[in-house]
């Protein structure tokens, strides 16, 4: 029998989250598929349908960890459920997603199960029987190569691994009733309220603001830039939203909107993995940043090393004279 490895599959109200399919693709990488027997753990209440769907699409065996107290997410309840399963399965590896829900449970699970913790991984390869992983430091300016030793829990940055699920045979589904026992947390049901910003999906050109735009007066330059194009819209990084430069509905990235316009201007955006995951499929990427080593320049087609607020007016003037 092969050693076991687990995936932590996120669901909300019975719907499997996008990041879960990425983990499934990872488990299907040749060396992972051949070395381990994979078990996907889904915790919740009334999740049989989600568990079956996941098993059918991926061919991976699923344990549905069920309890009334797991109806809504709490780190406490879910760690209880996963650790019960982990004690039984004794996996060499556990992969979770580096997402708000994944990062709520995985570090605590590492402590409870006494496993090493390797968060935020973006790439995994095996060379000479050693498993190497890569992750970012300094918002993507530096790449860190680490060796992964088992038993370990790893979190995988969402939006990095492409999804391919080609299962011919469904995986087995086992319902495991969990006795969560007493938990102190009282979680409420998640609340979905779609934000503004639908125009971003149809825009052919997106002019996106980052922290480097500095203040809302400078947003005028970005709006002027956008007005040079038809079907253009304004977006922003998380930092731009936090600064009040653009609405949260216009946040581009893994936890915001995923966009693929023909032309994307990244203005004063450093290029963190969470942002890039939301815009890397833009056909042409223009980056304007004063720091030559900003990681956004590594994925841009054309880059201007300059101050946003100084360069854009000069550019607009040049275009208007033509």
């Amino acid at each position: 029998m092969k050693p076991k490895a687990c995936l932590i599959i996120e669901q909300i109200a019975g719907n499997i989250r996008e990041c879960a399919w990425e983990l499934a693709s990872l488990a299907q990488l040749e060396f992972f598929r051949e070395t381990y027997d994979w078990i996907a753990l889904i915790a919740g209440n009334n999740i049989e349908r989600a568990a079956t769907l996941f098993a059918e699409k991926t061919g991976i065996e699923v344990y549905a960890l069920c309890d009334r107290l797991l109806e809504n997410f709490s780190g406490e309840g879910f760690v209880r459920a996963y650790s019960t399963a982990v004690q039984q399965i004794k996996p060499y590896f556990i992969f979770a997603s580096h997402t708000p829900l994944g990062c709520d449970v995985a570090p605590a699970l590492a402590i409870v199960c006494n496993m090493d913790y390797f968060p935020s991984l973006q790439c995994l390869t095996r060379k000479n029987e050693i498993l190497f992983a890569y992750r970012e430091r300094l918002n993507g300016k530096i790449n860190e190569e680490i060796t992964i030793t088992e038993p370990a829990i790893c979190t995988i940055m969402p939006g990095v691994f492409p999804i391919f699920n080609t299962a011919k045979l469904s995986g087995k589904v086992s319902i495991v009733n969990i006795d969560t026992g007493k938990i102190k947390s009282i979680p409420a049901a998640p609340n979905y309220s779609p934000q503004s910003g639908a125009e971003l999906s149809n825009a052919e050109v997106i002019v996106s603001a980052g922290r480097g735009v500095g203040n809302s007066e400078n947003m005028e330059h970005l709006r002027n830039l956008a007005s040079l194009f038809s079907r253009a819209a304004i977006g922003g990084s998380r930092a731009a939203c936090d600064m009040g430069l653009v609405d949260y509905g216009l946040q581009i990235g893994v936890t915001g909107r995923i966009v693929s316009p023909k032309l994307y201007f990244a203005c004063g955006i450093s290029g963190s993995a969470q942002h890039i995951a939301g815009m890397k499929n833009a056909r042409t990427i223009v980056a304007i940043n004063r720091d030559e080593s900003a990681p956004i320049f590594r994925i841009a087609d054309i880059g201007v090393i300059d101050e946003v607020e100084k360069f854009i007016p000069v550019f607009i003037e040049f275009v208007q004279k033509k």
């Binding site: 990062c103 009282i186 023909k262 994925i299 090393i305 100084k310 040049f318």
Partner: protein, 255 residues
Amino acid sequence: MNILVFIKQVPHVESSFEISSNGSTIEFSSQTAYAINSYDEYALEEALILSEKISHTIITVVTIGRQDAETALRRALAMGAHFAYHYVTENESIFSSAQKAKILSQFAKNHPFDLIITGTMSMDSAHAAIGPMIAAHLSIPWATHIIALDVNPIAKEIRATREIDVSTRQSITLPLPALISVQSGINRPRYPTLSHTLRAKKQEIYKIALNEHPHQHSQCRFLLPPRTKETFLLRGSREENARALYEYLRARSFL
């Protein structure tokens, strides 16, 4: 109410650095500006907001860091924290998240607290691990990625709202003592006032010796990230760059 806020000092994103030839260390240039990790500033601000609403609230900030991380603690005091503790180490980055969580949970065991607030992650390593690890060590309930917080000191509970993505939120009620980690944008961190800054200069910072020793359990090597595209970088004058960008976009029928 007693609140512990765990903070970290990090280099500014635009800092220049060099990776040593064997890839084992990152050397920052001597002009590097260090500051409180911005997520931790949000954490401290949230504690300060609570202290304005709930009388007799004491805020204690704690850091693990180099001697010069004292600057971050002084800034936290100037923002309004009451006490500051410093675990001094010459190289904070060789401690794993798990080791740091153990050190900080030990601190929490020796100092009374009702609430622990941390930032969701640090800007430099982005592991987002310490908060839930500390909660697990202390066997207290926790919630991460919090963007709204309400404390009921009489019922001794908090109601926190987490952001799962920009359109999906979830509220959770936790009895105290509890731990939360806050997401960016939960508040607008204040600037220290002059009088607070002057007072903070004189305040004592309690230094604690680190008994824990880092153990290098995994090999690690730093590299520059790969380029995914052949980027056309414009390094000319502003006017030359404007022309080059215009021609580039024109050739692709954008303009």
